[in-house]
Symmetry: C2
Subunit: 247 residues, 2 copies
């Protein structure tokens, strides 16, 4: 085990760059934090570059580089208020494009809240979705808050970045219906209509799905809510729609 | 309009105490922040003690006390990173106990995450629930993060604090079924079973609903999820259950 005691150490400086989207894009690396997530990543065979910990007593079935750091150095690297003293530097995974476009897909159009994106990925895994697709303008998947909210689901479920127009076309080409969500020009969600395969398209917290995508869908639906309520949280709406639409 | 320029002003010191649960309990007051929430509160006839703003140009149909403060004073009072320069001091509302225990109730057992509680209140309003009941050990309703996540739903939907054992009894006394959520000794949620009236009981993020409550329910259910997924977020689960169980 190597020990790092200075916040000016070159490795620490390099890892700190992973706090920004730019740093993550340049290196293809990202950080995960907390013993539970690190164990999940190891169990899921995530490609881990290094584990950084304050806890000398910590042992795990991990054959790669482990760096012991002082609490001060850990604080420098940590992005949570109460660091659990363990961080892993992971390589981003490039998921293989799907062979067919059948299954259950969740398409995210310009979602901004990291907690929403993370929770949707967690929910999509639980609901046995095939993949999540982040369209342009959606918050960076490797943002620490997204990762925390996925609760490890990110390691198990394919998440793609892509052009949603192309994804919609690809689904429709193989007769996978694409269900958009919209408050106008849409049908109320019917509990009795379920699909074997479908793609669900949800949109930005304030603006919803952009019109050019809604025009391409097979159908657009909304979840009926009572008048005094403004809207549902997009994560909640996605959970309800996935549950309701799946056969 | 009165102007306050010092963070040492007695009113400012008194309002700052509302950042803590103790301060809110002693005074029966709480703070809301941001123009949108303040407008919602005024529209919903919330009893507002004072409005505090940095914006002299701001005008609203509000007849009570308005205090103009400097940005430095606002920063002292604000609990968000990007204050929108507007805070209201509101009186807690004591909702009248329901006459009957029919309708849709959401019972929260020891929920800890403010975002979850706020989102559940927002979802419950949207789903036309009758009320939300916070059992002992649930995070304080007037926590700023809870209020922010409710998106104003708090002003429209009765939210009670109460003994969940008693609430379960009261529902069962009038034949309102109480549906608990549990991962063991529970049935998978059946999309085809719906209720005119019911109470839904959800529990702590890590531990779920406590056994002594689960023993009293009419029935306990779980949402079937795939093996690799650990669990659903409690807010998502509540959304799915409310949607699925309601007739």
């Amino acid at each position: 085990m190597k020990t790092i005691e200075s916040t000016k150490n070159e490795r620490i400086k390099a890892w700190k760059k992973l706090h920004t989207k730019k740093g993550r894009e340049q290196s293809g690396l990202f950080l995960i934090e907390g013993e539970h997530l690190v164990e999940e990543a190891i169990a899921a065979n995530v490609d881990i570059d290094a584990i950084i910990t304050t806890r000398e007593e910590w042992r795990m079935s991990f054959s790669g580089d482990v760096f012991y750091v002082t609490p001060v150095v850990m604080k420098e690297l940590s992005q949570t208020e109460s660091s659990q003293g363990m961080i892993a530097v992971c390589k981003k995974k490039n998921w293989k494009q799907p062979d067919s476009f059948s299954g259950t897909y969740v398409l995210l159009d310009r979602l901004q809240d990291p907690g929403n994106v993370g929770t949707i990925i967690r929910t999509a895994l639980a609901m046995n979705a095939t993949a999540v697709v982040c369209g342009k303008g959606t918050v960076d998947l490797y943002n620490d808050k997204v990762i925390r909210s996925t609760q490890g689901a990110l390691f198990h479920l394919p998440v793609y970045h892509g052009d949603l127009h192309q994804w919609i076309d690809a689904c429709k080409d193989v007769n996978t219906p694409v269900i958009g969500t919209a408050l106008t020009n849409a049908k109320p969600l019917d509990k009795n209509v379920t699909y074997e395969s479908f793609a669900l398209l949800v949109g930005n917290e304030g603006e919803g799905v952009q019109p050019s995508l809604l025009e391409k869908t097979t159908e657009n639906v909304y979840i009926p809510i009572q008048e005094r309520a403004e809207s549902l949280n997009v994560g909640i709406a996605t959970g309800i729609l996935l549950f309701s639409l799946q056969r």
